[in-house]
């Protein structure tokens, strides 16, 4: 059995001598915590040199590299070269190779977590491998090295500045003893006295390593996010007690092997390499692949009392809404039509503004309180589509900045703001907070509403959860349309896809057949050609009120689910067919007894748009990420948000028509008319 001698230079209580099984092999690990005692560490190394197979030293200050040189503390050097026969490792190679890879990997999966954030380093010099990656990801870095190493009251903000600082300071550092008492206080109490500390403690995320953090007063970590190399059992307890919100742990796999740290892991690689061989970058890459190492977020304290804030951008659905502004209340109603287009034009030059807020949202799943800040841009749908996308982007991005400053963690794009340009992608890229279009929940709620309406009218037979009828999706190649088509293809006998561009329809048909090879799909560019045979019609176009469907040709008893804003089926047209039920889908209710919306969203009561509800849901789940972007909604995301909605208590409020809720009487009336019409046809 191979024997590993582990010396925990920066710990004082963790001693053991045990046989540990690690990936099929058993090692004897003897650990001594030498509590910054250089002489003792050196003595133990010399005593056991040649008697064990590898010596692993953890917590020792690493080699600090800077341009054209490096700095290694003389004491660290003394310890590293103390052994003459047994190879000595300190985990540096693993950190240098693995950490940049781990952070990149995490960034690719969680872009907003590690990008455009204010990130503080206790000592960037000791964590250079983190600095380079996080600087590349456009983060605002605050390096507290001057305070950490020499208690000087200023911070560094770039790796170039860090290099210069270290180069200048290396003669001083060489003469400093490595000892516990040299670690300064990061207590909140010192914050007012020290501007550098104040700046450091105002960071969103703090980066440290276990060896340093163990000796700090951790109270300043309350509610913070920490990036850390590894969290041992003892530190985990301390972090939890300190109120840390969450930690991104670079090597969480080692948590189940509580006795193994970076240097022991490198020691194991060294043992496999055999005598004479030195651990190389390639060995570490192989280790990462073999053990499938990857970083992980660990939540330490669910902050249910703290209100999570999201933001949402809306706009007037027509120029009529602009005239509701107090500025125009004195204009005689008779003249409004004259001024309407001018007001629409003039108002579109106004910058976006804070409109109001929704509070009292409480998750049914975890009790988390959430509030929404509603911002508005003044463009009507017409203006949003007419204007250059860049102009709208700038306007919305300014609102994103405002929302970020107000403490929002995510921004939702309402109605037409998510149609502009590339459907949120550019805005998300430039925004300081993640952005979502909310289309995933819009799709889900549309389907909830449609299903309920069809079941209530009862004209379509249902066998084994499958409707034996036809469903038509107008605007099927749009983002909501495509996903709706995929999901409905599983529960309807026949599905008719309608959109203006045939080639897109063919692509969509192929996509659906991949999910459900047995689906019966008809594609068409003309909605009217198939409306007479459809039991459910979902319209989701950006027709801006243009007629997409002749309602007079629709089958009696059909449910038309109009997802578009403005509506594809106008109120006037809907009245012409009392035997057809036109519903306006996408309206849901948020959880919370004392829900309060202090603004007019154009909906009744506490009902909100599904896209807004998606943003609120992500805040409730603490999933601050760009959940839905671009025009292509992901089928899996719709399923995921549907599940989150059920868990957190976001429900279909009522089925809505043009004039508010559709009551049970209206359903019965429509049913009667449809039966009559169907009888007439016979």
């Amino acid at each position: 059995m191979k024997h590993i001698l582990s010396l925990a230079f920066a710990q004082d209580q963790y001693n053991f001598d045990e046989e540990i099984e690690f990936f099929g092999e058993t090692y004897r690990i003897t650990q001594y915590s030498t509590n910054f005692d250089v002489e003792l560490t050196e003595n133990i190394i010399k005593k056991y040199d040649g008697l064990c197979d590898v010596i692993c030293i953890s917590g020792l200050p690493h080699k600090i590299k800077f341009k054209k040189g490096f700095f290694l503390h003389p004491d660290a050097y003394r310890i590293k070269v103390a052994a003459k026969f047994t190879p000595t490792v300190d985990g540096q190679i693993i950190k240098d190779v693995y950490i940049p890879y781990a952070l990149r990997l995490f960034y690719l999966k969680n872009k907003n977590f590690l990008s455009k954030r204010k990130i503080g380093f206790y000592s960037a010099a000791l964590q250079k491998s983190f600095v380079e990656v996080l600087e590349d990801l456009e983060n605002d870095l605050v390096m507290a090295d001057p305070y950490f190493l020499t208690k000087m009251p200023f911070n560094l903000h770039s790796s170039k500045g860090l290099d210069q600082y270290l180069k200048a300071l290396s003669p001083v550092l060489k003469r400093m003893k490595i000892k516990k008492s040299n670690v300064p206080s990061f207590s909140e109490d010192n914050r007012k006295m020290n501007r550098a500390l104040d700046e450091f403690l105002s960071c969103d995320i703090l980066v440290g390593n276990e060896a340093n953090i163990t000796f700090l007063n951790l109270s300043h970590l309350k509610g913070k996010t920490l990036i850390i190399d590894i969290v041992s059992e003892g530190l985990e307890e301390k972090l939890k007690n300190a109120g840390l919100k969450e930690a991104l742990i670079c090597l969480p796999q080692l948590s189940s092997y509580t006795k193994i740290n970076y240097s022991i892991l490198e020691g194991i690689v060294q043992l496999k390499k055999g005598a004479g061989g030195l651990v190389s970058d390639d060995d570490i890459i192989k280790l990462v692949n073999d053990l499938k190492l990857e970083p992980q977020i660990k939540t330490f304290n669910e902050d249910n009392d703290k209100v999570a804030t999201f933001s949402f951008v809306i706009h007037p659905l027509s120029s009529r809404f602009l005239l509701m502004h107090p500025f125009f209340k004195h204009i005689n109603k008779k003249f409004t039509s004259i001024f309407e287009s001018s007001i629409e034009e003039v108002m579109s030059f106004s910058p976006g503004f804070y409109y109001g807020k929704i509070d009292g949202i409480i998750s049914e799943k975890n009790g988390k309180k959430v509030e929404g800040l509603i911002y508005a841009v003044t463009e009507t749908p017409k203006k949003l589509m007419e204007k250059e996308a860049d102009v709208i982007y700038k306007k919305i991005l300014k609102l994103c900045d405002k929302a970020h400053l107000a403490g929002s963690k995510i921004m939702g794009l309402g109605a037409y703001t998510k149609i502009v340009g590339d459907a949120g992608v550019t805005i998300d890229r430039l925004s300081p907070i993640p952005v979502t279009t909310g289309n995933s929940l819009s799709s889900a709620s549309t389907l909830w509403a449609a299903k309920l309406a069809v079941e209530k009218l009862g004209f379509v037979k249902k066998v084994d959860n499958k409707f034996l009828g036809s469903v038509m999706i107008v605007g099927a190649t749009g983002s909501i349309g495509a996903v709706s088509a995929k999901i409905l293809s599983l529960t309807w006998r026949e599905i008719i896809l309608v959109a203006p561009r045939a080639y897109k329809l063919i692509e969509l048909k192929e996509d659906i057949l991949k999910i459900n090879p047995l689906a019966n799909i008809i594609i068409s560019t003309d909605a009217d050609a198939h409306s007479f045979e459809s039991d459910l019609i979902i319209t989701t176009t950006s027709g801006q009120g243009k007629t997409v469907l002749d309602i007079m040709k629709v089958k009696p008893g059909c449910v038309i689910c109009d997802v578009s804003r403005p509506f594809d089926i106008s109120e006037k047209e809907a009245i012409r067919r009392p035997d057809v039920l036109v519903i306006a889908s996408g309206e849901v209710q948020l959880p919370g007894k004392d829900l309060n919306i202090n603004i007019d969203l154009g909906l009744e009561g506490n009902i909100v748009y599904a896209c807004l509800a998606e943003t609120a849901l992500l805040a409730m789940e603490g999933k601050f990420e760009s959940f839905t972007l671009s025009r292509n909604i992901n089928y899996e995301k719709v399923i995921e948000i549907d599940k989150l909605a059920q868990e957190h208590g976001v429900r279909l409020s009522h089925i809505m028509g043009h004039n508010g809720f559709i009551s049970d009487e209206e359903f019965s009336l429509c049913q009667e008319h449809a039966i009559k019409k169907l009888n007439e046809k016979k």
Binding site: H3, D12, Q13, N15, F16, D17, T30, Y32, T34, N35, D37, E39, L40, N43, I44, K47, Y48, L51, C52
Partner: protein, 348 residues
């Protein structure tokens, strides 16, 4: 009760024991107490030529060093001890309040961990007796419970620190036998002969008194940093050895971890001790207690009393002895008044 003792003693007579630190002050007394009751006593010594126990035929010297990864060099002997040991006493430690961290660590922590490695491999082990110290207690608190190791972050000296962590390791280590932790008080000389092998604890004052008694006779009072009510938790070495031997003899191997505080039943306060010292040296000087301060620390230094001793002169701690008295009623007979005459007599 008496028959029970004979019964256990009868069993013990067939057993073997392995002891570290047997050549130390306490160890030598311990071996003589244990010798009649064990078939073989293996004692670990760096010096294989140790002659101190030549008169005891059942004592075997085993060459070894607790600071080595394998504490017994000879593989055959190691296997024999692993095979035959029924009891282990780990008494080896570096007891020196002025020793460096490195030296204390190597002897007390590394040594304990290496010994435990050996202990874990003993298949027929009944119990491990680990000789700790009452110095593991926090002198800022008021009470040290028997079965509890308090959480401590600050230590006055490296001996207390390393013994504290060593006890922690012992408490956390699983092996085939039961764990008994013995925390003796300040070990003083033999209660019958007054024999003491080193200057320690109260002996520093006695030594100081020897040097300066003539001078002190002419001084009516002297300010000194001490708390007059602080008790000096002493125990004569022969008492301590006998009590450990009795505990081993009565041990039924119950797996529960047990801790014993071996401190004489009546111990003096610092004030009482100084008064007795005055009486022994025929001095009438009054000692005026003052708080810890640098000036008086210097005075102590002049008297040859190490600064590491100062915290013990202010300790508020008292020690729980419930279990110890219950299992070792004989300890009530160990009183300061009974042996103080010998203590001072020998020194004069």
């Amino acid at each position: 009760m008496e028959s029970f003792h004979f019964f256990v003693k009868g069993l013990i007579g067939l057993m073997n024991i392995f002891i570290t630190g047997a050549t130390g002050f306490l160890g030598q007394y311990l071996i003589r107490e244990l010798s009649p009751n064990f078939e073989t006593i293996y004692i670990l010594s760096r010096n294989s030529q140790f002659t101190g126990f030549n008169d005891l035929p059942n004592v075997k010297i085993v060459k070894g060093d607790i600071t080595q990864l394998e504490i017994i060099e000879d593989i055959m002997m190691r296997d024999l001890i692993l095979e035959e040991s029924d009891f282990v006493i780990h008494a080896a430690a570096l007891y020196d309040l002025k020793a460096s961290h490195s030296d204390c660590y190597l002897q007390n922590i590394v040594g304990t961990q290496n010994t435990l490695r050996l202990v874990k491999k003993m298949k027929k082990l009944k119990a491990l007796y680990y000789i700790s110290t009452i110095a593991v207690g926090d002198d800022q608190s008021f009470f040290l419970e028997e079965d509890h190791l308090p959480v401590r972050k600050k230590f006055n000296d490296f001996y207390s620190e390393t013994k504290y962590f060593a006890e922690k390791i012992v408490r956390e280590t699983q092996h085939n036998g039961a764990t008994r932790i013995i925390r003796p008080g300040i070990i003083i000389g033999d209660s019958k002969t007054g024999k003491m092998d080193k200057i320690d604890g109260p002996y520093y004052f006695i030594e100081a008194m020897k040097k300066y008694s003539t001078f002190l006779k002419s001084i009516p009072f002297i300010p000194l940093s001490f708390n007059p009510r602080t008790k000096i938790p002493i125990i004569p070495v022969d008492h301590c050895a006998r009590y450990i031997s009795l505990l081993i003899g009565r041990d039924l191997g119950v797996p529960e971890l047990k801790t014993y505080h071996l401190i004489s039943n009546e111990v003096p306060t610092v004030k009482q001790f100084l008064d007795d010292l005055n009486e022994a040296f025929s001095i009438k000087t009054q000692y005026i207690p003052v708080f810890k301060n640098p000036v008086h620390n210097s005075v102590l230094k002049l008297l040859g009393i190490p600064k590491e001793l100062v915290p013990f002169m202010f300790s508020k701690l008292s020690y729980d002895k419930t279990r110890t008295i219950e299992e070792l009623p004989e300890m009530q007979e160990s009183t300061y008044s009974a042996f103080k005459g010998i203590l001072f007599l020998k020194t004069l």
